[in-house]
């Protein structure tokens, strides 16, 4: 409730909230002064001027007794408002008592209340109003009670739901144990926690009650003459509707405006409650690169590469106030090549993967100097062609297999979608292929499995099915974003092995994203180490242990546990934390955590420079290829590219 002050001020500054407030305020003012100002005119009969149409003197005309309808509307405001508020209040109290029955009356009372809440909520309130109107008879009190009882179920359910979380809180238990009476617990500990939601709902309910009273009195089973509310005026006006429609439209406008006031106010409250803490930022479209630059870049295209990405940037938020989690990444993948991107969370590795797969959505924004796939300049292709190309030959394996399948479609059709769409496969072809692919990833009884829903698969099986889905077409590139994070260790190895086999067999390039440098080392040819949105080292996987030079890469490696690690000691961790995108300033982003950092590091950000024949690193003080920093036992575990035992 810390920011509830902001919530309320947000209500008062939004146009919707202001209009709502003005309407409700006007309603209250008219309700207070109405009977004094217009009381006489409202009841003064004038038989010489009955059923008069609207005029300057009588804004809404006169009724069958010659009374000024406008004055009557103004006077009726008080009764309409009071009745609606009273009914809402009674409903609120009844609902509160039923809804907190568990706390007030113990478990048995709670169970009874649960049944009452479920049954009463299933019935439309109008039906309940009619029921109670029949019971209480046609009278003001009857109408109020009918309305109160028909709003009670909503409040009861709301209170029930809200208190379910509150009553588990320790201080409520503590209060129970220390013998505080149940009503006191409710007043002191429960109510303050549910008050906000109840106020919001009461605001909306007051509007609904006002309108419902209108309906009830309109039907002639609400307020009875000589008293009159908005609905009663509607009822009276209806008889002369065809002669003098303004006699109906006037009170109708009053009812609608009054109800609208409460509804808009409630809407504004609900909106600011839901917006709380949500830092909204307006997204923008990426800028288009000039055609000339494109041509220049295309001229030096290398056909053998499956993927060429140059100066890839991903940013969020409006220009000027935007953050850029990916700050310029170059990636080149040859056919069948397996490259890993490793980095801590927040390093921008997953966003890089998503950007390559063209899956960044607003409010994210991608700027790239060049993005080429299988020899096609992606940003220059018509959307339809690009979709077909990527649909056929780019597949993505996501981190959470459990949520990455559509939960209410069978697995089979989900596997078949892509090739049916992009390769014109028939249902039967797609099915046959899906069976084969599922079997290839080691799922038995594939025929039957295809008829199952995702929730009938285990996590590991879902991930294998996801990989099978990635091979339905003719993949040239498989992007696997943390494909094993959600899986247990045994399953992890199988999935990694599977990805490697697939890439070999299909001659598909593999881009493997992971925070785990050991996973990367196992199955890739090359590793890109990312930090703070940039690649800081790029080298062959087999050289990782022996030849990596960036202090960050070295730190990642020495943080790896192995068989000799003393389990009683905490794992080595890199001190400090990676900077958030907004915190990146000048200098090397790793400098604050780096043992070798100098003033130069803090002043100037290093570029990627050659550190060997096929090796680049962005560091002013590269660690010399010094085995001493890594114990021999650990070095022997790396590279694991040849160490098939680890995977099996």
């Amino acid at each position: 409730m810390k920011s509830s002050k902001n919530t309320w001020s947000a209500v008062f500054t939004r146009p919707v909230g202001i209009v709502g407030l003005v309407l409700v305020f006007a309603l209250v003012v008219i309700a207070v002064i109405g009977p004094f100002v217009w009381g006489e005119a409202a009841t003064a009969t004038n038989t010489g001027n009955i059923n008069a149409p609207d005029s300057g003197e009588y804004l809404f005309g006169t009724d069958s007794l010659g009374r000024d309808i406008f004055a009557r509307v103004m006077v009726a405001t008080r009764l309409s408002l009071v009745l609606a508020l009273v009914a809402t209040l009674i409903g609120l109290v009844i609902g509160l008592v039923i809804g907190s029955a568990r706390i007030l009356f113990g478990p048995i009372g709670g169970r009874i209340a649960d049944v009452i809440i479920n049954v009463t909520n299933a019935f439309p309130s109008l039906l309940m109003i009619l029921f109670f109107a029949a019971v209480f008879g046609v009278s003001t009190i009857g109408a109020v009670m009918a309305l109160a009882l028909s709003t009670a179920p909503t409040f009861a359910r709301l209170t029930w739901t809200l208190t379910a979380s509150v009553e588990k809180l320790e201080y409520v238990d503590a209060a129970k144990v220390s013998g505080v009476s149940r009503p006191k617990i409710l007043m002191r500990h429960v109510l303050p926690n549910v008050a906000e939601a109840l106020i919001l709902n009461a605001t909306l309910s007051a509007g609904t009650a006002l309108l419902a009273f209108g309906g009830l009195s309109f039907l002639g089973i609400g307020i009875q003459p000589p008293e009159f509310d908005f609905g009663r005026l509607l009822n009276e006006g209806f008889s002369q509707f065809y002669v003098n429609p303004v006699a109906v439209l006037g009170p109708a406008a009053a009812v609608v405006l009054a109800g609208l006031g409460f509804n808009l106010l409630g809407e504004a409250i609900a909106h600011s409650v839901s917006q709380r803490g949500e830092g909204a930022a307006a997204p923008k479209r990426p800028a288009k690169r000039s055609a000339e630059v494109t041509r220049l870049l295309q001229a030096k295209r290398k056909d053998a590469d499956v993927l060429v990405v140059e100066d890839l940037k991903v940013s969020f938020g409006a220009r000027g106030a935007s953050v850029t989690p990916v700050r310029g990444v170059d990636i080149r993948l040859g056919a069948g090549q397996r490259v890993g991107i490793v980095g801590e969370s927040g390093s921008g590795k997953s966003l890089t993967a998503l950007a390559i797969a063209d899956l960044i959505e607003a409010p994210g924004r991608v700027d790239v100097a060049r993005r080429e796939f299988s020899g096609h300049e992606l940003d220059q292709m018509p959307a339809a062609e690009r979709d077909t190309l990527l649909g056929k030959s780019l597949s993505v394996v996501f981190q959470n297999p459990m949520t990455s399948f559509n939960p209410i479609r069978r697995i089979g059709p989900q596997l078949g979608d892509g090739i049916r769409r992009h390769m014109g496969a028939s249902k039967e072809e797609a099915h046959r292929r899906a069976v084969r692919r599922l079997e290839e990833v080691g799922i038995k009884q594939a025929e039957e499995r295809l008829q199952k829903y995702p929730f009938e698969f285990s996590g590991g099986m879902q991930q294998r099915a996801m990989i099978a889905m990635g091979t339905m077409g003719r993949p040239r590139l498989i992007i696997a974003d943390e494909p094993t994070t959600a899986l247990d260790v045994t399953t992890q190895s199988r999935v990694l092995r599977l990805l490697k086999d697939l890439s070999e067999r299909e001659n598909a390039a593999l881009l493997l994203i992971s925070h785990d440098i050991a996973v990367i080392g196992k199955i890739t040819d090359r590793v890109l180490v990312m930090y703070a949105g940039k690649v800081i080292e790029d080298l062959p996987s087999e050289d990782l242990a022996a030849k990596s030079v960036h202090p960050y890469t070295r730190a990642l490696l020495s943080a790896l546990p192995d068989l000799d690690t003393d389990r009683d000691q905490p794992l080595t961790v890199i001190p400090g934390r990676a900077p958030a995108p907004a915190e990146i300033g000048k200098g090397c982003p790793f400098a604050p955590r780096c043992d070798f950092a100098t003033d130069k590091c803090r002043e100037q950000e290093p570029e990627l420079l050659p550190a060997g024949p096929v090796h680049t690193a962005a560091c002013w003080h590269p660690v010399s290829a010094n085995q001493a920093t890594l114990p021999p036992s650990r070095a022997s575990l790396l590279p694991m590219i040849d160490n098939e035992e680890m995977i099996k």
Binding site: F131, V138, F238, L359, T403, P407, Y453, D501
Partner: protein
């Protein structure tokens, strides 16, 4: 990973449907048990409904017959009527008689017209149902496309002004009560323009205004809900999967997102249909529609308790049937619903 097995097994099955048969038996058994439990719950609900209907007359403060006949009626008349209604018998006898009559479709006779309640209701029932169902169809046809389109337009925080306009205008529209909208429509289209009949039930033209009056506000509310639900589903991982498969936008909205958004949507739509059934009462009054609503209001004003009892029970029955139908449709859309209930039922 047995590679030889993979290569040597050409699939002989014909397609997705080939293996359906075993699946069907399993899920249909699950379905049967589920339907069985629903029927049991339904019977319980009916009993509750009948009991409430019975209690209604006995909850009336004072003597309902005296209230009905008015102060002018003689003691003798009141006594006779009480006897005719069986109100002199012990409560438990009355209750058993009421329930057993009700099960056979007997709700007594009207205190004023002397007509059998069941006959009166069956004369009026069709007209009301027609109105409610037609309005429901209109609500669905308007709300779902509107909700999906506005979700598509405001996805990812785009078009803030459109979003504000949409949410605000739906609140405003939802505020206008059906019976007031009905009168405005009558004034414009029947009185001024004279395109459509003012009242009564005389061919399809006379359905237009009542149906519009009933469906506009619920459609606005439902469109809002559809938008929020679709937006929530669009943020799910499996939507990203579908995009990674480069499925077209239409497919993603209609085939992937919409069915997943239907659970909440249909639950609320079900409540709305129930609300529409009751809502006919108000609109029928405006259009002098020869349905149950009109005679319900008259009966409440006249304190014609047997009539009110019978009609409350019929309305309630309509609500209950709606809930069951929604439940069945939901489990057909989302297979997890059936499973969840199955597990929690054990």
């Amino acid at each position: 990973m047995n590679k030889s097995a993979i290569k040597s097994q050409p699939s002989t099955q014909k397609g997705w449907g080939a293996r359906r048969s075993t699946e069907t038996t399993l899920s249909s058994r699950l379905m049967m048990r589920r339907i069985g439990r629903r029927l049991l719950g339904f019977a319980g609900g009916i009993w509750l409904l009948l009991t409430l209907g019975f209690l209604m007359m006995h909850l009336v403060p004072g003597d309902p017959v005296r209230a009905a006949l008015g102060k002018g009626a003689s003691e003798e008349m009141v006594r006779q009527q009480r006897e005719a209604l069986g109100l002199e018998d012990p409560l438990i006898v009355q209750y058993v008689r009421f329930i057993s009559d009700a099960v056979r479709g007997e709700f007594g006779t009207s205190l004023f017209t002397g007509q059998k309640v069941t006959d009166a209701i069956s004369e009026q029932f069709g007209a009301s149902l027609q109105l409610a169902l037609l309005s429901f169809v209109v609500v669905i046809l308007i709300a779902i496309p509107l909700g999906v389109v506005s979700a598509a337009l405001t996805k990812g925080g785009r078009r803030r002004h459109f979003e504000l306009g949409f949410t605000t205008s739906t609140v405003v529209i939802a505020t206008v009560p059906s019976f007031i909208l009905a009168q405005v429509l009558v004034y414009v289209f029947a009185v001024q323009l004279q395109w459509l009949p003012i009242a009564g039930n005389d061919g399809w033209e006379s359905l237009i205004l009542p149906v519009i009056s009933l469906s506009v506000a619920p459609a606005a509310i439902l469109a809002r809900i559809v938008r929020v639900e679709v937006l929530a589903v669009l943020g799910e991982d499996f939507i990203r999967t579908a995009r990674a498969k480069r499925m077209p936008g239409m497919w993603i909205y209609l085939r992937e997102a919409l069915p997943n958004a239907m659970t909440a949507t249909l639950t609320i739509a079900g409540l709305m249909l129930a609300g529409l059934i009751a809502g006919t009462v108000l609109v029928e009054s405006v259009f002098s529609w020869p349905g149950m609503g009109t005679s319900m209001v008259t009966s409440i004003r006249q304190k014609d308790y047997p009539m009110v009892q019978g009609m409350i029970i019929v309305y309630g029955l309509g609500v209950m049937i709606t809930n069951v139908v929604v439940d069945i449709v939901l489990s057909a859309i989302d297979p997890r619903t059936a499973l969840r209930r199955q597990e929690s039922g054990k």
